[in-house]
Symmetry: C2
Subunit: 232 residues, 2 copies
């Protein structure tokens, strides 16, 4: 795909404000059915941790599920990983795509693919890499290879990016990543950085829209809005 | 009024989810024009701290402004209060109602009223009172008296309530307050308590709606939704 879809973590209002494609909901987010009602245009991803939660999310209307953490990860220090068997159980229990997250690396993508997972979401495998662009390309190839038995839509590579203060290195890394190698860029945004990142989010999504609608012109940069307040 | 209007602080999505009347936006919230676009049904209040900010908020389409903090307050320790003169300047600069917040007590309501402010918003004057119900009634009378030269809509008494964990005493205090003495109940909700407070918020607003539509039946309690997930 030219340009990744953009999903905003948790904040339905931010997703609406920036024209994102979707929102990723966790256990402390607004309920799925409520989000469907107030934001019918958004694709809804739900983060789940077991089969029961997956079934609840499916019944409530989630478009996709993210399951994790599959392997040990620095994002969840001290917590036991849920493992590939649990991932496979969740995949078998639902009819929507299941994205694996947590400790996914080049080395284990193939094992993840064998569970029937529709794709992977990573943080440190890209943002923590010495060469984030190369890491993304390698993961892209691994996804395409490991998941080649599945439909094209099911080779998802998602970069989960936390927009926080004082993460300049991570920010630089994210900017090096070729977005046409990602299936989605999922953004977690905290209140303290909302205002300063909002324009960036809007620009990101404009880029995605441009890419989708004008595939022949994907090299030209998006025209950023002059001012956030002028968008309405 | 029978039952207070309910406004949710900052979170446009939560305001939409619970069917609140409005949202109160601060400098780190989504921009007013964006909120108007994604949530046209919500009344928009904006928190401002000077005349320039008030004019910007008015130009962007705010329905009302909250100005503060007027007096020294425990909510903003160590910060200089902005004072009655600044409040009066803001009131004079805009055409929408201006609510005064910050250190408002029974003793200074009359002085606040002389600035032309449309009302007051309090936290500790009610939630910190030994008898919150009596404090609310007294503030209600003071507002009606001090602001009696103004139009009826401009005698607003707003309780600003921060929904946080481990504030059982404050929670009990809030429940003692007769809502028909408040003009609005403004709720600030943090992510950690969102899920557990959501039903309470929804119930609050159902109560307000019932009161508005069935004034003769205001003694009957609202019918709470069985389950948050069933509301859609």
């Amino acid at each position: 795909p030219h340009g990744a879809r953009v999903a905003v973590n948790d904040r339905v209002d931010v997703a609406l404000a920036v024209g994102a494609d979707g929102v990723q909901l966790g256990s402390r987010s607004l309920p799925i059915k409520v989000v469907r009602r107030i934001a019918p245009s958004l694709r809804i991803g739900a983060s789940v941790h077991d089969v029961a939660g997956a079934r609840r999310a499916l019944a409530a209307g989630a478009d996709s599920l993210t399951f994790g953490h599959v392997f040990a990860t620095s994002s969840h220090p001290g917590e036991s990983p849920r493992g590939l068997t649990s991932l496979a159980e969740v995949v078998a229990a639902v009819t929507v795509p299941v994205i694996a997250i947590g400790g996914i690396t080049l080395e284990n993508v193939e094992a993840v693919g064998r569970t029937g997972a529709a794709g992977i979401a990573v943080i440190s495998a890209i943002l923590g890499a010495v060469d984030p662009a190369a890491a993304t390309a390698a993961l892209r190839r691994a996804c395409d290879h490991s998941l080649e038995q599945q439909a094209a839509m099911n080779r998802r590579l998602i970069l989960y990016y936390k927009a926080e203060k004082n993460k300049v290195g991570q920010e630089n890394a994210r900017q090096q990543v070729a977005r046409d190698e990602l299936s989605a860029l999922e953004i977690k945004i905290g209140l303290p950085v909302l205002a300063e990142h909002l324009q960036e989010l809007i620009d990101l999504d404009i880029a995605a829209d441009d890419a989708a609608e004008e595939a022949d012109d994907s090299a030209s940069p998006p025209e950023p809005a002059e001012n956030i307040g002028d968008l309405a």
